[in-house]
């Protein structure tokens, strides 16, 4: 019986007059990779930001394991430690080296000793293949390397679930592969992941479940096979066809 790590019930987010999404329901089971796709402006990124409480939803509940994190009086800092987040624009701390970026949460949040933190951080950097870049600053790294440091930084906190907000959208085509490779490995290692992406190759190959969102609603969700080969709705078929066409071309050009 699969164990849910993340349970989202009737989630609603409104900015002013603008309804981003309404009554959204989603469950993510332990070890699963859920890929969220959909046109831009659909609320995918906002959904991720609600999950780690960077923005507060207007209504609805989110549970992380058995803890309702949207409940009043929740210690947000405590919750965020357990939810890793990888951003589209990497958002590394520019004044710190790769090692410093990964270590900051360990020393300041987990209160590890300098030595312990360095050891753990180096381990995470090797996991993303960047141990030899530990002393480089973000400005000295390529986009792909920066994003891998971003992943290592999130992993170092030993999160229950990792959120990826279009992790490869800001990368040159030839740098996308190295980031996807790290993510693929993570998924195989059993990390629970929620990934917003347009990388259909990754979705098809790695996702346990694909969720198609549009205009603040989940249109359809299912296994990659169901979604790509037997979608229930025409809109799903249409979107997947378009996006595969578009990104498939880009992937070929990059080869």
């Amino acid at each position: 019986m699969p164990k849910p790590i993340l349970t989202i019930k009737n989630l609603t987010k409104i900015y002013g007059q603008n309804v981003i999404f309404q009554n959204l329901n989603l469950t993510v089971n332990e070890g699963d990779t859920v890929v969220i796709i959909g046109p831009s402006g659909t609320g995918k990124s906002t959904l991720l930001r609600c999950i780690n409480l960077l923005t507060r939803p207007n209504e609805g509940q989110i549970w992380l394991d058995d803890l309702e994190i949207t409940a009043k009086g929740t210690d947000e800092d405590q919750v965020r430690q357990h939810i890793g987040m990888v951003f589209q624009n990497f958002l590394l701390f520019n004044h710190l080296t790769a090692l410093g970026n990964v270590k900051l949460g360990l020393t300041k949040v987990k209160k590890m000793s300098e030595e312990e933190a360095t050891k753990k951080a180096m381990h995470e950097l090797s996991r993303v293949g960047l141990a030899d870049r530990a002393n480089h600053y973000p400005g000295q790294l390529s986009g792909g390397q920066q994003q891998r440091v971003g992943i290592a930084r999130a992993l170092a906190m030993d999160p229950r679930v990792m959120l990826f907000d279009e992790p490869t959208s800001a990368l040159d085509p030839e740098l996308i592969g190295e980031v996807l490779e790290v993510m693929r490995k993570l998924a195989l290692d059993g990390m629970t992941m929620v990934v917003v992406t347009h990388e259909m190759g990754f979705a098809r190959e790695v996702a346990d479940r694909i969720v198609f969102m549009e205009k603040g609603h989940i249109v359809e969700e299912g296994s990659p096979d169901e979604m790509f080969n037997h979608p229930k709705f025409d809109r799903t078929r249409e979107f997947l066809w378009k996006i595969t066409e578009l990104y498939g071309k880009k992937e070929k050009e990059a080869e």
Binding site: E76, D77, H95, L104, Y137, A154
Partner: protein
Amino acid sequence: MDFSQFLSYIASGTVYTVGVTLIALPAGLLIGTILALLYVYGGKVAARVMNLYSTVFRGIPPLVLLFILFFAVTRGVNLSAFWAGSLSLGMVSSAYQMEIVRGALLSVSGDQLMAARAVGLSRLQAIRYVVLPQAVRLAIPPWSNEAAIVIKDSSLVYALGVPEILRRAQLIGASSQRYLLAYLSAAIIYFLLVYATTRLLNHLEQKLSIPSNP
């Protein structure tokens, strides 16, 4: 009186000029930084109060403020002209320094703060370990400008009778009737002070710059 005596008389006022600057500038930095943090992170009411503070202090000539503060403060407390002048200039400068620090904070904040919070840092930790170290680097160039202004504005305390460079130039100019030479000497000393300070801060800026590939 030969020229070297002439110059050394004026230059001995440097102690006061440097003294005023060394009080006004750090005092302004301390107050300015605290106010900037309140401005950016203290919510709407604090932001309004800070905005008012900044508008008022930047809207009045420093010399006028100097007199107001001098006569208002010394009425209650026994404060020397030197201290009254230095602290007044520090308050004026704090409004400008607040704007400098605020600008630096704002240009780092946002995304960097969010990324820090996402790792699990508290708001205070995020500001302390992620935003401030980067903001300091951004603030150095405009701050160097403000440092130059404070050095030059320190000449205003001559109006309170503090025997700093300008005051001495005026005195010796009057007694020797060599006004042009006196004020030129003062100008050269001020210039050297400002030049040395900006060079020093330039050096600091380069030393603290974050390595990156061209």
